[in-house]
């Protein structure tokens, strides 16, 4: 069961809080990680997935959009292992990745990879969602290597 950051390694925000301020139409994306899942916006009219969320579907402009819980699985499209301590409180190294969610490989989701040997990260790596609580109610959509027998 994904938990708060008590057990998470390689998380840049662990000792420095960089909390996103977001619009109402995004709030589910940033807060629904409390159930351990990844929630992305989908159009009820044309079924397209949207990320980042928008007030209207980017494909058909329908306002009938809603969040769905996804499988939480995806692959690493690209990544970088950051070693630079941009802020004094930053814990380095950490991995920033662009994730392709299984539901739509054209989506690009910025996220941290946690609980991972930073030298083992590679493009194509299979990952699963592991949301991390960073504020009272804000969850970052971090990912970790996918465990086959989970």
């Amino acid at each position: 069961v994904p938990s708060s950051d008590t057990g998470a390694h390689n998380l840049p925000a662990r000792r420095v809080t960089l909390t996103p301020r977001f619009d109402a139409y995004e709030s589910t994306f940033w807060t629904a990680g409390s159930d351990g899942g990844l929630h992305l916006q989908r159009c009820n009219h044309c079924s397209a997935w949207n990320h980042p969320p928008l007030p209207r579907c980017r494909e058909c402009y329908s306002a009938d959009v809603a969040f769905q819980r996804t499988s939480g699985f995806g692959r690493v499209y690209s990544f970088t292992v950051n070693h630079q301590r941009w802020l004094p409180a930053l814990a380095v190294p950490y991995v920033i990745a662009v994730i392709e969610p299984d539901e739509d490989e054209t989506l690009r989701l910025y996220a941290n990879l946690i609980d991972v040997d930073v030298d083992s990260v590679a493009i194509g790596m299979q990952v699963e969602i592991a949301p991390v609580l960073i504020d009272d109610s804000v969850w970052l959509p971090a990912f970790r290597p996918r465990h086959r027998h989970r």
Partner: protein
């Protein structure tokens, strides 16, 4: 009907001193560059009736923004028919296209364009600072800062990794960009770093964000670059030969965000470069030299591919072969680029391209150069210009 580019010349260029730790103010540097450019154009500030810049004063990152338009208009006591500055658009080249449009449309006769940075002194000895600041994150930054994507280095490192994965680019290819730039910097007295760089030194330097090491990232500096764009009829009246802008490239068709880019082997350069070539009968074969934005070493490789100079995946081997050195077939970043020359944030590329095509580059002149590309931007920002001798 004449196109925009047929109605405009680059009548003068100017550049301040370029230093790592400057003691002069951003405004002082700006006035140095602007007065140089105005004098080259054979004009005085009284003749300037338009002004543009990028990004303007109201920009938070330390040292990234120079003085805003009001400060420069006041200091030079300009009376302008057109003025525009701001950070949005297709990157720094936006300021030059704005100026050209003001001239071509008849709003102005002579437009001053400037870009000033004081990142060298603003960032002190503490190294490169992150974009934005800690705390609550608003705007587009909310999609990168909370994940520790705190610098353009992080964003563009992910383009580099994908280019390596799909196109076979290697760290040695990236090193070749940095090493060639350092060789060229030796001929540029303004360059920040002029001592030779070896592959061993490159490979043993500290990693910033994989695959980028220290030498893959450009060097913050203090400096200002300025241009005057004038009506074509002004050609021949300046103190230096005029330069034609044969074509601009300003197109953007991808979703304009660094953090959701679809194909990270490409950048907005793949929109801007074809747009530029569509506006001229010249082709990549006509190029004598290229000045390609190298905020990070991967960027000129992707520009070489976007411009059609190299097939996708062959820019790395092209640079590694020595083709882009002074002795090669297409000298690139002949002033040292930003990696060694200093991060003048794109305007240095246009400045060098102009000097080269008018035969004014001194000891680093590419013999007989008549045609050059200046390209600015990485990731979701891209603008380019094809400069030719006005002969």
């Amino acid at each position: 009907m004449a196109e925009l580019e047929d109605r405009v010349i680059l009548s003068g260029v100017g550049q301040s001193a370029v230093t790592r730790r400057g003691e002069r103010s951003a405004l002082a540097l700006t006035l140095d560059a602007c007065l140089d450019a105005v004098a080259e154009a054979g004009l005085t500030p009284n003749d300037i009736d338009g002004i543009t810049t990028w990004p303007g004063e109201d920009f938070a990152d330390p040292g990234l923004a120079g003085p805003g338009l009001p400060a420069v208009i006041e200091a030079l006591r300009l009376r302008v028919n057109y003025s525009a500055g701001g950070p949005e658009g297709f990157g720094q080249m936006t300021a030059l296209v704005n100026a050209a449009m003001a001239v071509a449309s008849g709003l102005s006769n002579h437009v001053l364009v400037y870009r000033t940075v004081t990142e060298g002194s603003a960032q002190g000895g503490g190294g490169r600072k992150p974009v934005g600041s800690a705390g609550s994150v608003e705007g587009m930054a909310r999609w990168s800062l909370p994940f520790g994507g705190m610098s353009a280095a992080n964003w563009l490192a992910m383009f580099a990794h994908r280019h390596m994965f799909e196109r076979g680019t290697t760290r040695e290819h990236l090193a070749a960009v940095a090493i060639a730039g350092r060789q060229h910097a030796a001929l540029n007295p303004k360059a920040v770093y002029r001592n030779p760089l070896t592959l061993d030194t490159y490979l043993s330097s500290r990693i910033i964000t994989t695959p980028f090491c220290l030498y893959d990232c450009d060097v913050p500096c203090d400096g200002s670059t300025a241009f005057v764009l004038s009506r074509r009829e002004h050609a021949g009246n300046g103190a230096v030969p005029a330069v034609r802008i044969a074509a601009f490239g300003s197109a953007l068709s991808e979703r304009p965000s660094m953090v959701r880019w679809q194909d990270m082997t490409q950048m907005a350069a793949f929109d801007a470069a074809p747009h530029m070539w569509s506006r001229t009968t010249l082709t990549p074969k006509d190029l004598d030299t290229v000045q390609l934005y190298d905020g990070f070493s991967i960027l000129p490789l992707i520009w070489l591919e976007a411009l059609g100079i190299c097939e996708p995946g062959l820019a790395g081997p092209f640079v590694e072969s020595g083709a882009t050195t002074r002795a090669g077939s297409l000298p690139m970043n002949t002033q040292g680029g930003q990696l060694s020359g200093g991060r003048l944030h794109g305007f240095g590329m246009v400045h060098e391209a102009a000097l080269q095509v008018r035969g004014g580059a001194g000891p680093r002149q590419v013999e007989g150069a008549q045609t050059a590309v200046a390209a600015i931007g990485g990731g979701s920002l891209a603008g380019c210009a094809l400069l030719t001798a006005d002969r």
